[in-house]
Amino acid sequence: MTAATEFTPLASLMGGGLIGLSAVLLMAAFGRIMGATGILAGVILPRDMQDFAWRAAVVAGMITGPIIIWLATGTTPDVSVPVSTPMLIVGGVIVGIGVTFGSGCTSGHGVCGMARLSPRSIAATLVFMIATFVTVYIVRHLIGA
């Protein structure tokens, strides 16, 4: 039986707003999509030094986020992992393959792509959202993992 989590409309809305702000700023400053997949891929498989540098800086900033929260509030954000380590590994590899073939993830397609009304991103987002709903149902209610 999985534990319930608190419904946090305000915090989630604010967090979402900040995510959106970062996307707008990245586009305004550097003309880039705030897509975690592409940014990470450009760090692990760099094209050139300049391209690697801004991507690495963004990733470093992302990782700094929880540290800022810890400095401001004294606690780090909750990261409760209700799945086994094998599931993390299997899921992680599948995500990595999926976002590469699919050219993006929740931030790239779901936020940035949909915000500019890209049909590709709308299609991608619909598909991965449905796939996630179905997978969670199967894993939690059919398999019982």
């Binding site: 967090g15 900040l18 996307a23 963004v58 990261v79 590899v93 590469t100 050219s103 993830c105």
Partner: protein, 144 residues
């Protein structure tokens, strides 16, 4: 200065992800568990992000160029092809198994929780596998 700006933008994303709950697999998986311990919070994350980005992009993309780059690098692909759909389906399956997506996991590394590192290592492995499958001499195998 450019790199420091990129770093700051990353921080804003990381703080947003942290506050929103996207870095918390328990919360993420509960959003997708409509038949169980449903937590609708993530809808508000998407909503908040979409509204801000939609409005912001409309202003920003009117400019001739970005402030610190020569041009806007907007994806130009139009085709909704098998690779897009298949890849997105796989992404959803993996997300539903692990509870992390790339944008949620990268900031979560900053909490030091071991499982995040395990997921990100697997994520990187998956990206490398997919890239290897997609390189030109292998394209026959990955042909859509």
């Amino acid at each position: 200065m450019r790199l420091f700006s990129a770093y700051l933008i990353g921080i804003i994303f990381g703080v947003g992800i942290s506050i929103s709950g996207m870095a918390n697999p328990a919360k993420v998986l509960n959003f997708f568990d409509i038949a169980g311990t449903w937590d609708p919070s993530l809808a508000f994350v998407m909503g908040g992000a979409l509204v801000v980005t939609f409005i912001g992009y409309r202003f920003v993309l009117k400019r001739p160029t970005p402030f610190a780059a020569n041009s806007f690098q907007i994806p130009t692909g139009r085709a909704i092809d098998a690779r897009l759909i298949g890849g997105s389906a796989l992404f959803g399956i993996g997300w539903g198994i692990a509870g992390f997506c790339p944008g949620g996991a990268l900031p979560a590394l900053g909490t030091g929780v071991t499982q995040v590192f395990i997921f990100v290592a697997a994520l990187i492995a998956g990206i490398l596998i997919a890239r290897a499958l997609l390189t030109p001499r292998n394209r026959g195998m990955a042909a859509t």
